[in-house]
Symmetry: C2
Subunit: 127 residues, 2 copies
């Protein structure tokens, strides 16, 4: 039986207002909230303010991760939503993020991660 | 003038020995080393051991991030290398990771992130 472990959404946010991308606390608040509205379970987080500008943020969730890298000087953010559960709602996170970062143009790629063949429930291959 | 800010490599490692994926310290050691051999500059790191099994790890680098999520029970790891610099060597990191996790099968997708039109060096759009 085939099984896909995760779905990875790569979001290209172009034309975001500078103010939404420049400040680590704004970015952190909204990436965390996006994790919450998607029904993901936050494990640990890491946010970093670059100088002179730019923010990187990671939210590790039980279901994999959310990440963001911002280029305020280009009004651009690269956002990843990597979810390995059917109990999360990526579309809710995406809508929330659109409202928070207000991009003029959005491109989304969805990529399946971990397409595996399951030989039986709980089968463990310790080779 | 068109410019691409980053290259994102999505690595599917199938058939990895259980022992390479189960332990957070092994995974951490080798993801950090992969960052180093690629010439990336490590900013901050975050590694987490899940129970009963599985590891998530993130290395935030000046040039974006490396991430890994392991499913030892399926002998599978999803690895991302997101580099936004021409001064890093993704192929070195990939070769290093292949040796560290010894997958039977590898699939790699390369996706361009942040394809923007540059109107001038240092132009800042504060709208």
């Amino acid at each position: 039986m085939k099984k896909t472990l995760g779905n990875h959404f790569l979001l290209e946010f172009h034309g975001c207002p500078y103010s939404t991308l420049a400040n680590v606390s704004y970015v952190e608040e909204h990436l965390l909230k996006a994790a919450e509205v998607s029904n993901a379970h936050i494990v640990r987080t890491l946010f970093h303010q670059f100088q002179p500008y730019g923010v990187s943020g990671i939210v590790v969730i039980t279901e994999s991760h959310l990440s963001i890298h911002t280029w305020p000087e280009y009004n651009y953010a690269a956002i990843d939503l990597f979810f390995c559960s059917d109990d999360v709602f990526p579309e809710r996170a995406i809508e929330y993020l659109k409202n928070a970062f207000n991009p003029e143009d959005v491109e989304i790629k969805q990529i399946r991660r971990g397409e595996i063949i399951v030989q039986g429930v709980g089968t463990l291959h310790e080779f």
